[in-house]
């Protein structure tokens, strides 16, 4: 049996100085743009629609359909904004992609912009990844110099400017409307919808916001066709995707495979769970997706199957945890993340994550009560679907799913008065845990 891997996006990553224009062109880069510029923009939208490409940022909204929501051209500007603010715990696909193959993104941006009639595209990249920001800046510079961007792209008469913008480090700016506010120089908090970005997005103009991986998938669809793309994956989850394995796994990294592959197959390629250990729980798509356990090893990793199994495909960020890991501790860390990153706009997320964090830290330290578990579940219920945007929903996923699967472990913390796990065992390196932090004190003075 041949390898299930389908390197498309990652195909050129092993080339010498893969991030340069020369290396990218040696691998056939920018052929898609040349072809696209000879086609009608509407054909390109139809092509991507036909390919079944769904948004790779987590929600899985059909990309071509999103493009077609733009109102008819009124002569004013319309924008493409690439969401490169990858910051979900566990998610690590866009950053290696942009690091190794920034031109793939630039080519995707150029094709997409041409398809939707945009003359100024923006890449909103997470500010902490300075090295990626620099590679993107350099790639855009190279592309301008080579006539791939700027005035009269490749002699086609089409003009396109690309601005790479570095965010200032807020998870919420991965939410598309908060990203647009941030890009406009405002405080990054989600906007009221409607109007949706397709109608009034960046600077209140029609705007398409797409994930890096979605845009980077476009050149391949243009050169190889929609049928090729549909040949990969499942009927409703077509194409290839990057699967990011991390945690207690022998060979962590990016595995590019058709959607619908299972964790069992991916683990086989990754050399399995850490030597001498067994799978305890995992996230299918980052920390905001409900946890899976070993019983979900054979769930096909496509939107429908993962959804049917009670979670979400998300960003295919597969964090693997073996039996040495305290689930309460893992969930408490994630919850601290959400409490820290909640933008504060709406009550459920702002106050709810504060409360969840406080309770979880207490439970983790062995100072919880049985009632705390009911409070955790009820607070999650009061956040889920009540918050302004999906951040609050995501914050509840690890808590509700972990209590569902590992309630007895939570209770062990409570009845035992301490965490039953030796934290040094779950470390992948020599690790002497620090003293438990004191839980007394006055709240959130961080």
């Amino acid at each position: 049996m041949t390898s299930p891997l389908t390197p498309v996006l990652s195909d050129g990553w092993d080339a010498d100085r893969s991030w340069t224009l020369d290396a990218y062109r040696d691998g056939g880069g920018y052929a898609g743009l040349e072809q696209a510029l000879r086609r009608e923009p509407a054909d390109l939208v139809a092509l991507v629609k036909d390919s079944g490409l769904r948004g790779r940022g987590g929600a899985g909204f059909p990309t071509g359909l999103k493009w077609s929501f733009l109102p008819p051209d009124d002569g004013g500007p319309r924008y493409l904004v690439v969401n490169a603010d990858e910051s979900e715990p566990g998610t690590c696909k866009d950053i290696p992609l942009m690091l190794a193959s920034p031109h793939l993104l630039v080519e995707g941006v150029a094709i997409t912009s041409f398809a939707i009639g945009c003359h100024h595209a923006f890449v909103y990249v997470r500010g902490e990844v300075l090295h990626v920001y620099r590679r993107l800046l350099r790639a855009v510079e190279e592309a301008y110099a080579a006539g791939l961007l700027g005035k009269d792209v490749l002699g086609s008469g089409y003009d396109l400017d690309v601005t790479v913008h570095a965010g200032a480090g807020a998870y919420i700016c991965g939410e598309e409307t908060a990203l647009l506010d941030s890009l406009e120089g405002l405080r990054g908090q989600p906007r009221l919808k409607p109007p949706f970005p397709a109608v009034a997005g960046l600077y209140a103009r029609p705007t398409v916001v797409n994930n890096v991986e979605s845009i980077a998938s476009v050149p391949g669809i243009v050169t190889r066709g929609a049928d090729w793309f549909k040949g990969l994956g499942t009927e409703r989850s077509t194409g290839h995707g990057l699967f990011s394995l991390s945690g207690h796994v022998r060979r962590p990294g990016q595995y590019e495979a058709p959607l619908g592959i299972t964790l069992r197959e991916l683990l086989d390629m990754a050399g399995g769970v850490r030597e001498g250990h067994e799978l305890k729980f995992w996230t299918p798509g980052g920390s905001s997706t409900p946890l899976f356990t070993a019983e979900h090893l054979d769930v096909p990793l496509d939107y429908e199957s993962v959804g049917a199994a009670g979670s979400m495909l998300g960003t295919r960020a597969l964090q693997i945890f073996d039996e040495t890991t305290c689930v309460v501790r893992a969930v408490a860390r994630w919850t601290e993340f959400y409490a820290h990153e909640s933008c504060g706009k709406c009550t459920p997320c702002r106050e709810g994550t504060y409360w969840l964090r406080a309770v979880l830290l207490r439970v983790e330290a062995g100072q919880g009560t049985q009632e705390d578990l009911d409070v955790l579940l009820d607070v999650c219920d009061n956040i889920l679907g009540r918050a302004f945007c999906a951040l609050g929903d995501g914050a509840t996923s690890p808590i509700t799913s972990s209590i569902q699967h590992f309630r007895e472990e939570y209770e062990a913390h409570i009845t035992g008065g301490a965490c039953p796990f030796d934290r040094s065992r779950s470390a992948l390196f020599e690790h002497a845990p620090r003293e438990q932090r004191a839980l007394t004190g006055a709240g959130a003075h961080r």
Binding site: L192, H340, C346, P348, R350, E351, Y354, V379, R386, A442
Partner: protein, 880 residues
């Protein structure tokens, strides 16, 4: 049961029922309702009497959807028409009703009820349980809705978030971040309504807070309170969003709309409990808008004022002056008994002593009768009167004193203005309204700085500019912060040249190709649009030909004219005849038929036919003995164009009767002083600039008498009967007069005057009154005074340079009469002009210079730069 209601402005009026396409029919809690398209579910529910709890929602602010308290369960038909439940509860404050939608509130949906209880519990986990000491306790939406839609106990056992408290946003506004539930009403008000954002969200998550603009974070070097230049408050304040020191005339509204006790005022903080207060709806006395307010008092002491809800006038907003400046009514210098002046032993003027009403009225009657014979008695009622009082002064003058020498204008005025008022304002009823300000295509301001001199009309104009694209033009020497916030266009006019500019605009409208600047051409074109307005301020009286030019421009463009004076009683005076050329109801005093009509209604033989004198002429006549006596109402000598001359005139008068609330300079000149009731102690009717009657009730019990009642008694002492002892009697008397149907006074048509040349070392004086200044109506309110703008002198860069002045230097502005010294704020403005505030601490223009806007003054350096952070400077012209 099925009830059908209709909401929304489109539905007003039976005939104008909107086409069905403008309506949406849907269901709330099983009740079918029809609303205008675009109506929010929370509003539609209100119409049905269904109260959905909410915090961030405010009907006059854009929806935010931040607090999530108003969640409801919603189903909506899909494309096939099958009703499908939405997967999540929806915020009813952001959801517009759609046809066939089915909404279930907490009353019928356990999901909505649970969601609301959940949000309420979350709002309370970090909220301090300090309600017993909180100003808001007892009238707190959070407290109330926690009782109605919350759990009885909290399940939080972990520590609460705390903040140091309070943060002083300005001398008046205090922010307690612990109590804040981050609904953003205050920040949205500041950004959307007032346009002076000063506090905003900072940080995130549970650490998110409303806060001051923090220069430490964003690298602004200028520390607050030390910023140079103009638009800076007198007292300490935080920096606003731009890094400048926060200054707002409307910040008190944020306290009122705060749904918790996070924003409080220094004046009211910890002073009372809402449930101890008695509330009376009333009308504010500080400007010609006569905004609706609510006066709260406890045991005879007014403790605070809040904005009333009057959609036709001030919506739900008032100026900080209307909100906080009420201590003047109970100031220590209140007059409580009549005073009479005895002769000293040597036969000269003696001192005032308290007297009975009987004695005081008798002496006043005798004195006035003697003066009437000796040359005549004039009446200066002042510009702050109710309709009832103004009418009594007008009638007293004609019936008891037999004169047309009556003028309420205690400010710069002109005969041209009196003609303008008689021809276009008097008896015209409600013309231009606040709603018109919001919806006019174009508004031209002349002689009117809307934010400083009007307040609430500024907010309405800004709303129009923001929401309905109203184009604002202003004929003024520079672009004020207020004009900027209305996205307005400046027509840069030196004082005295306004009439020329207006004629220029009129010519542009006539031939379609205006000479001069681009802005004039734009204004010409824009004013021709139907429904355009010209708003005229009282300051135009200082410009010869100004009012005439306004009428010429209105005639050419078809724009309607509204006169927006500063004081609350100006329009009432025009309507009731406290002008020399006007009798009540807009009747020309020079018209024999009008006089006969009034005389008939009043049951007197004849009214005086001799033309009356204006304020300036009355003072001149008193000074030279042509007039012997004067009855003075609420006139502040310092407000008059030439206070020194006015003092001389009052001193020369053989007999002065003063009707006042508080002791004033007129008291010192008076022979008999008759105390009158402050606005809270009597009922009455103000007349707003629109011509809209603004009746108000008596707030406090008092034995003090309103002016009209005192005047009725005074007339009796003079042997005349006014028949105005009660408010009802005044209104009946007014009603008997009815409207004037005869000819009106001809409109003035004076040519614009060529302004004098400006010599080196001199400049043309520009000036207007600031909303917060040295006016006596703001006495006793130190916290409010701290939010007034620091007085500066504005000069263009070229004018400053020619006088050897730089930003921050002290400039002396001088006339032959005196001088005043202020720090320079170099401003982009018309050259050869110096602007100073008209009556602010350290800048009393009339008092120090004896000059009025348009006059030429000398400018020169007064030495080194002023020490920063101290707006007050040595002032050789300081009065009193």
């Amino acid at each position: 049961m099925t009830a059908t209601t209709t909401t929304g402005p489109a539905a007003a009026g039976g005939e104008k029922r909107p086409a069905p396409s403008d309506e949406v029919t849907f269901t709330i809690d099983g009740i079918e309702t029809t609303v205008a398209k675009g109506t929010l579910v929370i509003r539609a529910a209100e119409e049905l009497g269904i109260q959905i709890p909410r915090f961030c929602d405010h009907p006059l602010l854009e929806p935010a959807g931040a607090c999530r308290q108003c969640l409801v369960e919603v189903s909506a038909p899909d494309r096939e028409g099958t009703l499908r439940p939405m997967p999540k509860p929806q915020a009813s404050c952001t959801l517009t009703a759609s046809p066939g939608m089915v909404v279930s509130t907490q009353a019928t949906s356990p999901v909505a009820d649970k969601a609301q209880h959940g949000v309420m519990e979350l709002l309370l986990i970090n909220h301090p349980l300090d309600c017993p000491v909180c100003d808001k306790g007892g009238e707190c939406p959070l407290q109330n809705q926690a009782m109605s839609n919350g759990r009885p106990t909290s399940r939080l056992v972990d520590p609460k978030r705390t903040f140091p408290k309070p943060l002083a946003v300005s001398t008046q506004i205090l922010l307690d971040r612990e109590r804040c539930i981050l609904c953003q009403r205050c920040t949205r008000f500041s950004a959307e309504i007032a346009g002076d954002p000063f506090i905003d969200l900072q940080k995130r998550g549970a650490a998110q807070q409303i806060g001051r603009f923090d220069e430490d974070v964003l690298g602004f070097a200028e520390p607050p309170g030390d910023a140079p230049g103009a638009d800076v408050p007198v007292g300490a304040a935080i920096a606003d969003e731009s890094g400048a020191t926060f200054s707002s005339y409307f910040s008190g509204n944020t306290i009122q709309i705060c749904p918790v006790g996070a924003l409080t005022s220094a004046a009211y903080r910890f002073r009372s409990r809402p449930f101890d207060l008695v509330s009376t709806p009333s009308v504010a006395e500080h400007d010609s808008s006569a905004s609706a307010v609510r006066v709260d008092h406890r045991r005879g002491v007014v403790l605070r004022r809040l904005a009333g809800d009057d959609p036709a006038v001030n919506e739900e907003w008032i100026t900080d002056k209307d909100r906080f400046a009420f201590h003047w009514q109970s100031a220590p210098d209140r007059l409580t008994t009549p005073l009479v002046r005895d002769l000293a032993e040597d036969g000269t003027r003696g001192a005032l002593r308290p007297a009975s009403w009987v004695e005081a009225l008798e002496l006043a009657g005798e004195g006035l009768a003697a003066a009437r014979e000796a040359g005549g008695v004039a009446v200066l009622p002042g510009g702050r009167l109710t309709v009832e009082d103004a009418y009594a002064y007008a009638k007293l003058a004609r019936v008891a004193l037999g004169t047309n020498d009556v003028d309420h204008r205690a400010r710069v005025h002109s005969d041209e203005e009196a003609e303008f008022l008689a021809a276009t304002v008097a008896g015209s009823g409600i013309g231009v309204t606040f709603a018109d300000l919001e919806h006019a295509p174009t508004v031209l301001l002349v002689g009117l700085e809307a934010e400083e001199e009007a307040g609430v009309p500024f907010l309405r104009l800004r709303k129009g500019a923001q929401r309905h694209g109203v184009r604002v033009f202003s004929v003024a020497p520079f672009t004020t912060r207020g004009l900027e916030r209305m996205d307005g266009t400046l027509l840069p006019a030196a004082p005295g040249t306004e009439a020329e500019w207006l004629d220029g605009i009129a010519d542009g409208a006539a031939d379609g190709s205006a000479d001069g600047t681009e802005a004039v051409a734009q204004a010409s074109q824009a004013l021709a649009a139907e429904g355009s307005l010209i708003l005229v301020g009282e300051r135009l009286a200082s410009v010869a030909g100004g009012y005439s030019a306004v009428l010429r421009l209105a005639g050419r463009t078809g724009a309607r004219v509204a006169w927006i004076p500063r004081r609350v009683g100006e329009r009432a005076g025009v309507e009731t005849g406290t002008l020399p050329n006007l009798l009540p109801g807009g009747r020309p005093a020079a018209d024999a038929a009008a006089r006969a009509e009034v005389a008939g209604a009043w049951g007197v033989g004849a009214l005086p036919a001799e033309p009356g004198r204006s304020t300036a002429e009355i003072l001149d006549a008193l000074a030279v003995g042509q007039l012997a006596g004067v009855v003075v109402g609420g006139v502040e000598v310092s407000d008059l164009p030439d206070p020194a001359h006015a003092r001389r005139a009052l001193a020369q008068a053989s007999f002065v009767v003063s009707l006042e609330v508080r002791a004033s300079e007129v008291t010192q000149a008076a022979d008999v002083v008759l105390p009158v009731a402050a606005p809270t102690e009597r009922a009455g009717t103000y007349l707003g600039w629109e011509g809209r009657p603004r009746p108000f009730r008596q707030v406090l019990e008092s034995t003090a008498m309103a002016d009209h009642r005192v005047l009725d008694a005074l007339a009796a002492a003079l042997g005349a009967e006014l028949g105005l002892p009660t408010r009802e009697a005044v209104q009946a008397d007014l009603a008997r007069l009815g409207a004037w149907t005869g000819a009106r006074v001809a409109a003035p048509d004076l040519d614009a005057l060529e302004p004098p040349a400006v010599e080196p070392g001199t400049a043309v004086l520009a000036s207007w009154r600031m909303l917060l200044d040295a006016g006596r109506g703001q006495d006793g309110e130190a916290f409010l005074a701290g939010t007034a703008k620091r007085p500066v002198a504005r000069l263009s860069a070229a004018t400053a340079a020619s006088a050897g002045l730089a930003d921050g230097d002290l400039v002396t502005v001088a006339s032959d009469r005196g001088a005043l010294t202020l720090p320079v704020a170099v401003t982009e403005m018309v050259d050869h002009v110096v602007w100073v505030p008209m009556r602010s601490p350290g800048s009393a223009v009339h008092e120090s210079l004896g000059a009025a806007p348009g006059d030429t003054v000398r400018i020169g350096s007064a030495g080194a730069a002023a020490p920063r952070g101290d707006g007050r400077t040595a002032n050789e012209g300081e009065q009193r």
